[in-house]
Symmetry: C2
DNA sequence: TTGCAATAGTTTCGACTCGCTACTACTTTT
DNA sequence: AAAAGTAGTAGCGAGTCGAAACTATTGCAA
């Protein structure tokens, strides 16, 4: 264990406070932070990554909790339930048009992010990504990266494909977030 | 409004996810994230900054919510209520020994922070501080800085004092967080 | 092929957060 | 001394949260 110092304890407090601020934002339309985070994830995830247990992994919550959250969102018409053909236990959720609409609300943090210098934003993103990666490793959580940056991604002349799921991918799909994502070795 | 780009939307997602992760940590002792954040704040705040409404400001929550949270913590014996002499409406909360104990629990994010390079930690802290400042300005929130970095702080031969509250300060008090903090012009 | 373990999702429970509104008890202003 | 402002609290309804129990389905192995 590395020695605690002033810099680090302040960093810890900053993370806490930004988390609080983020959670306290007014997301509009009666949405709460969890619901907003769930919709945001679904809107970025590819079609293999929109099941309740995957949302649960992403949000670091239990399946039970996420089940309720998604049902609440479905009641409000912001997401839509889709039963799987191949596995009859399995369900997927897709964001509806009103759901995407709700995602457009801009908060104080959005404004602050938008106000950053290009370079500062990139640096901060890199640092946070690194921090998140380490923390997730600690918890044995998944990284949920972008498809085309994954070690299972294959780019060919006839289009891209995934070597793990053994499926072809549309160009736009390679930009989406995937549950199975693994960084290149 | 600055044009949305890939870098920024990813940064936004990272902030969301780290917030989620932070909120999902196991804080031990039946503590939840809000309760832990409240104790953490109280343990860092000076004696003029431990009233419910100030905690509410810091946590970006309403007085009602914080009132309940502090009462829940008092029931568990982690904080202690102290009525003010001068203003009989006013109450302050102090962290107890068991409360400080509960603060020692280390989470995955703590571990990740501890694992950062000295320089990376400092850089990240600076970037987050800047982001937080901008976001708070947007919300008209307070910055809650360290006493001795405040424009009302006065250092003299007979010890430090606060020009705003018109009180003398013990050396250790100048290291604490203050509600009235304002950055030097 | 049956037989059971693993998996996907849901339900219920109790404790709690959260904003809101209404309220009490003080203090300050006029 | 009345009115306006401030500090804190109670109660409400919706929702989160983890834990545990439960259903339905799938997959594997004897």
């Amino acid at each position: 264990m590395v020695m605690e110092n002033e810099e680090r304890s302040e960093l810890r407090a900053l993370i806490d406070r930004i988390s609080r601020l983020n959670a306290a934002e007014d997301w509009g339309g009666g949405l709460n932070p969890t619901q907003r985070a769930a919709i945001a994830y679904l809107s970025r995830a590819n079609r293999y990554s929109r099941m309740p247990s995957q949302v649960a992994d992403y949000l670091s919550a239990t399946r039970g909790t996420v089940s309720q959250t998604l049902k609440a969102l479905a009641r409000k018409g912001l997401v839509e339930e889709r039963k799987s053909q191949s596995d009859r236990r399995s369900v997927s959720y897709a964001v509806t048009a009103p759901g995407l609409e709700a995602l457009q609300v801009s908060t104080a943090i959005d404004a602050a992010v938008a106000g950053l210098e290009e370079k500062a934003a990139a640096g901060l993103a890199a640092a946070l990504k690194d921090l998140l990666k380490t923390a997730l490793k600690e918890r044995e959580g998944r990284s949920f990266g972008i498809c085309k940056t994954c070690r299972h991604h294959r780019a060919g002349v006839k289009g891209a494909s995934c070597a793990l799921l053994q499926v072809d991918l549309a160009p736009e799909e390679t930009e989406e977030v995937c549950y199975e994502h693994e960084a290149v070795a």
